[in-house]
Point group: C2
Chain length 226, copies 2
């Protein structure tokens, strides 16, 4: 008789926020408002329940209005993801800025920043890498922002190479391994996989530093960073 959690009757909406500046017919910057609404929603909701209609509601416009600014829902998500990649790059840069001058340590902290961003904005992160936007090439701005973020890692690696801390000629390979490592951890976190594996007791930042350190020094026994 366990009465499993039945899906609750579709949330009775009534979240209308007649966000209308001075009763204007024209909104002013609906495009921006929609993105903002999406970002706000993602702060504490699954990406699933991010619907175009809900965004329109929050912006105080009709359900068809968004189509004047975006060609599809995927297009909105692409814009949202683009912002996400900018935030991701910023998070990495911030973490680097707070690190010592040692280039290897800075490289590692870039990874930590990456994971911290994903942990701080899990829903946003899921949009960035979720299944709705597999074909990134259809959204050039998105691809550009993603490349920019990736570039932070490339730069950090370049600094290491220049300082002689990493072998030259390997940048791409190292960058891929680094990206994979931090993205993997971030992804496991935002997918709730860590709890399944019972890692939830550790602090995220420590886990991130562990993984980054392992990547740098190797798992076999490298006693490098840290």
């Amino acid at each position: 008789m366990s009465t499993l959690n039945r899906a609750p009757r579709r949330r009775a909406a009534a979240t209308q926020r007649a966000r209308k500046p001075r009763g204007a017919y024209h909104h002013g910057d609906l495009r921006r408002a929609l993105i903002e609404a999406a970002l706000a929603l993602l702060k504490d909701h699954d990406p699933r329940q991010l619907s175009l209609r809900e965004l329109a509601r929050r912006a105080g416009v009709s359900t068809a209005a968004p189509y004047r600014h975006f060609s599809s829902k995927a297009d909105v998500l692409a814009a949202v993801a683009e912002e996400g990649f900018r935030g991701l790059a910023a998070a990495m840069r911030a973490q680097i800025a707070a690190a010592p001058a040692d280039p290897l340590a800075r490289f590692r902290e870039a990874g930590v920043g990456y994971v911290l961003f994903a942990h701080a904005h899990p829903a946003h992160y899921r949009v960035m890498f979720g299944p709705e936007l597999v074909e990134k090439s259809a959204h050039p701005d998105l691809a550009g922002a993603a490349l920019d973020a990736f570039d932070v890692l490339i730069q950090a690696i370049g600094d290491c190479v220049r300082a002689g801390a990493l072998p030259a000629g390997d940048t791409q390979r190292v960058a891929l391994a680094a990206w994979a490592g931090v993205h993997g951890l971030a992804s496991l976190i935002s997918a709730g996989q860590l709890e399944v594996l019972q890692f939830h007791t550790r602090r995220i930042e420590d886990l991130a530093r562990d993984v980054a350190t392992a990547l740098l020094g190797g798992v076999t026994g490298g006693s490098d960073g840290r």
Copy 2:
């Protein structure tokens, strides 16, 4: 919300009510048929367009029939993901079986197997880690299958420790780093991110081995495997 219609409690593998064969009205094993239909669909379609109604259509039953066997769409996806984790574990074990006896090499090949599975079944992989199933704890069988897959890595690491190739006492940390690394690469692949970063020219297996090797030996200069 009377909710008398609960899915029948699922027996652990041992017993099963004799599966009824054909019959025009009763399907026989709808549960199985729905999962199979989902797997077939995922072979060449996005997880997005995997709808319960479509599965019902393919199984030749009405749109409400699936609810006799699953309590929600998420429940179906959980079953599908569960199969996925079994396949993932099998892929790792297969790759290990084809590797030399050296435990470190076997550990690395487990990672390669992981990535190859994700590359071979991207849509399935996306279901396994996608946003629909964030709360895995609601699906105990799923969590169990995921843990089983994780266990392949743990075992491989254990072998390394016993052979003295990895320091003892670090298993969890090493396992997390390894899982993060391979999952990250797999995830980047199945999210189409590699094309954005212009890695598409390389063979997946080589990329996987690169990352796995980097994880083992460290990026700083480890000249380990390969």
